[in-house]
């Protein structure tokens, strides 16, 4: 807990480099295709958790923010690349996607966060439907037919383009985790936690709740947009009904809730576990069944393990032998008092 942020960042960059080198050594590019999706979910889960886990506000519109990022890339591609043959670098696209989604997140938050929390959740759910309607009717980005993005085969000096995308997503994932951890240990994070625990009390104690919530929606939305921006280049063919699909929404909720929502570790664990599981299940069983698995795991975890895997590990670690003895002694002295 006491690791300073630069050290934390460095450690993760080293781990990333090791993972990348390891994947290269395996010599199979499918690893990068599958790994990209898992990393994308790490970003989505972390982004969702900044608002959902830290502030306690549920966002069902992850797919909408993600798709906004993806479609802003498509729009730029159609606008610039197809005419001038100038390819905007993907990091720039990520920034633009993040900006667009961040602005939309801010707007949504401003309209709904002044009211009870449930309205925000419902509005985000509806946002996905409406943005999808807009994109379906917007011929410039392909409408319901979808849009093709031609990605270059190679990029210097990394080689295959998918490796480049994988690397970018890895950097974004590390950035996301670092931001989440920074928030967690800052004034901002304590403010968020106070909103989650008791918004009324926080407000009464002078916490500027609306401003904090708006910061959270903006950061969370922007990260999701950034995760979406390189997606058209990954998939090659972008189509509204799959980009706005419910599976992004359910995954980005399920991963933090299964991993644990109170710290940055939770979404990371959840995304790595669930994401890899899904990649394996998609290859071995079918893609519809793996979504069913996610849905069932989500329901089971919220009922049985409200604090996720992190919570389970935490309680397990705290169950030390002397603690047990202590509990028994208290139980013996005051029967029925210890739950």
């Amino acid at each position: 807990m006491t690791v300073r942020t630069p050290v934390f960042l460095l450690v993760w960059l080293v781990i990333s480099a090791a993972v990348f080198a390891g994947s290269l050594a395996l010599g199979n590019d499918y690893i990068f295709f599958a790994g990209y999706v898992v990393l994308q979910y790490v970003v989505l889960g972390t982004a969702w958790n900044i608002l959902g886990g830290y502030c306690g506000y549920v966002n069902f519109g992850s797919a909408a923010f993600f798709a906004l990022g993806a479609y802003s890339s498509v729009a730029i591609y159609k606008l610039i690349t197809e005419n001038d043959f100038y390819r905007m670098p993907i990091p720039v696209l990520m920034l633009i996607g993040g900006l667009v989604s961040g602005v939309v997140g801010f707007g949504m938050g401003y309209l709904t966060l002044r009211l009870r929390g449930a309205f925000f959740a419902i509005a985000t759910l509806a946002l996905a439907v409406v943005l999808q309607t807009l994109v379906v009717n917007w011929d410039f980005v392909g409408g319901s037919r979808g849009a093709y993005i031609i990605r270059p085969e190679q990029i210097e000096p990394i080689g295959n383009y998918i490796r480049y995308l994988f690397l970018l997503m890895m950097v974004l994932a590390v950035a996301g985790i670092t931001i989440a951890r920074l928030i967690e240990h800052s004034r901002l994070g304590y403010g968020f936690a106070s909103i989650r625990d008791d918004e009324l009390a926080a407000e009464a104690a002078g916490v500027p709740t609306l401003r904090l919530k708006l910061i959270a929606t903006t950061i969370s939305g922007a990260l999701m947009g950034m995760a979406g921006a390189p997606f058209p280049y990954y998939i090659g063919y972008l189509q509204p009904s799959s980009t706005f699909g419910l599976d992004y929404a359910v995954n980005s909720i399920a991963m933090p809730l299964i991993g644990g929502t109170t710290s940055w570790v939770g979404p990371l664990i959840g995304a790595l576990l669930l994401g890899s599981l899904q990649q394996i299940a998609t290859v071995t069983i079918s893609s519809a069944v793996n979504l069913l698995i996610v849905g069932c795991l989500l329901v089971i975890f919220v009922i049985i393990a409200p604090n996720g895997i992190v919570g389970l590990v935490h309680t397990y670690l705290q169950r030390k032998p002397e603690d047990f003895v202590g509990r028994r002694r208290v139980e013996a002295e005051m029967p029925g008092r210890v739950p």
Partner: protein
């Protein structure tokens, strides 16, 4: 999913296509934005308004369940549309195999839906409400239910559109320049009956009044020797039971596939909020308003724009008058 412009006038035998539907098909050029034909004619307008009111009656039935659960009990049941789709599929299965009228089927399975609803509330209460975690985990729970229902239906029935057969589907009532298809009129009338019955139940019976009271003061209710949890369980059961009927209406009005329910989430909550949380008369008025505006939008701008209307309604209501039209 989104792109298919299957709205109120989807694939049907030619005789079933009313004049309005043909005009809509003519007006709807693929590509929305470029194809906004602003043709204004009186009978188009009147037909659009009338069909909007009728569709609104159906929306009221769809929303009445959420008015109970979200409006009165404060349970954000976003899985409600999934239960409606479940009702549609039950009506479809019975209709396809036995040829029984979908509305009769749905009334027959209402008790089963009631039991299902009570069961779900029990799980919800024990796992979330009791622990005070309903805001985050309770929502995720219902979202998971929505997702599981949808994926299970997809796995069993695929994503094909399903529809039912009944004597009144296809017939229409022509009156001056009006065309009223019975497959919208019948659900609208039955739905208004349902809402009237619910309203009488809520205001005239002891249990109904207790349901209204549980929203206001649980402690006072307990002092009257009524168990609030039991009352909530009954209310949630009723709320899910209405989904059975709404599901039958839905499949009478339009062909159904598992993800259709998602389009209704925005509508349902927009109507619920606009009507004033938990007010059934408000729900009817709001539903008809939304129906009219949606019908006008799809007549004059093309049906692919209609889903955006409800969201506009929702945001406008939240921004201007969060208490709704007939808010308590």
């Amino acid at each position: 999913m989104g792109g298919k412009s299957a709205h109120y006038y989807p694939r049907r035998p030619a005789k079933a296509q009313s004049f309005l539907a043909k005009t809509k098909a003519l007006l709807h050029t693929p590509g929305g934005l470029s194809g906004c034909l602003m043709i204004f004619s009186l009978d188009l307008l009147i037909n659009a308004v009338v069909s909007g009111i009728l569709i609104g009656g159906f929306y009221a039935a769809v929303t009445s369940g959420v008015s109970l659960s979200f409006g009165i009990l404060d349970i954000v049941n976003i899985a409600h549309p999934a239960f409606i789709i479940l009702g549609s599929y039950i009506a479809y299965i019975v209709n396809a195999n036995l040829g029984i009228d979908p509305i009769l089927t749905s009334i027959a399975v209402m008790p089963a839906f009631y039991v299902l609803g009570s069961g779900i509330y029990q799980v919800y209460y024990v796992s979330f409400e009791k622990r005070g975690q309903e805001s985050l985990r309770g929502l995720a729970f219902f979202f998971g239910l929505l997702f599981i229902t949808e994926v299970t239906l997809v796995l069993y029935f695929g994503v094909d559109y399903r529809y039912v057969e009944a004597s009144y589907i296809g017939a229409a009532w022509h009156f001056a320049m009006l065309d009223i298809p019975f497959r919208i009129l019948v659900p609208c009338l039955v739905s208004l009956l349902l809402i009237a019955a619910l309203q009488i139940f809520l205001t005239r019976t002891f249990v109904g009044r207790a349901i209204m009271a549980v929203a206001q003061d649980q402690l006072a209710l307990r002092l009257m020797a009524v168990d609030p949890i039991k009352i909530k369980r009954i209310a949630f059961g009723i709320s899910i039971a209405t989904a059975s009927l709404a599901g039958a209406f839905l499949i009478i009005i339009q062909p159904v596939e598992p993800s259709v329910g998602r389009e209704y989430i925005g509508r349902i909550f927009a109507i619920c909020v606009l009507g004033g949380m938990g007010s059934l008369p408000g729900t009817v008025i709001a539903a008809m308003l939304l129906g009219i505006v949606e019908s006008l939008t799809s007549t004059f701008y093309g049906p692919s724009w209609a889903p955006a209307v409800s969201f506009g309604f929702l945001l406008l209501t939240l921004a201007v008058r969060p208490a709704g039209l007939l808010g308590r």
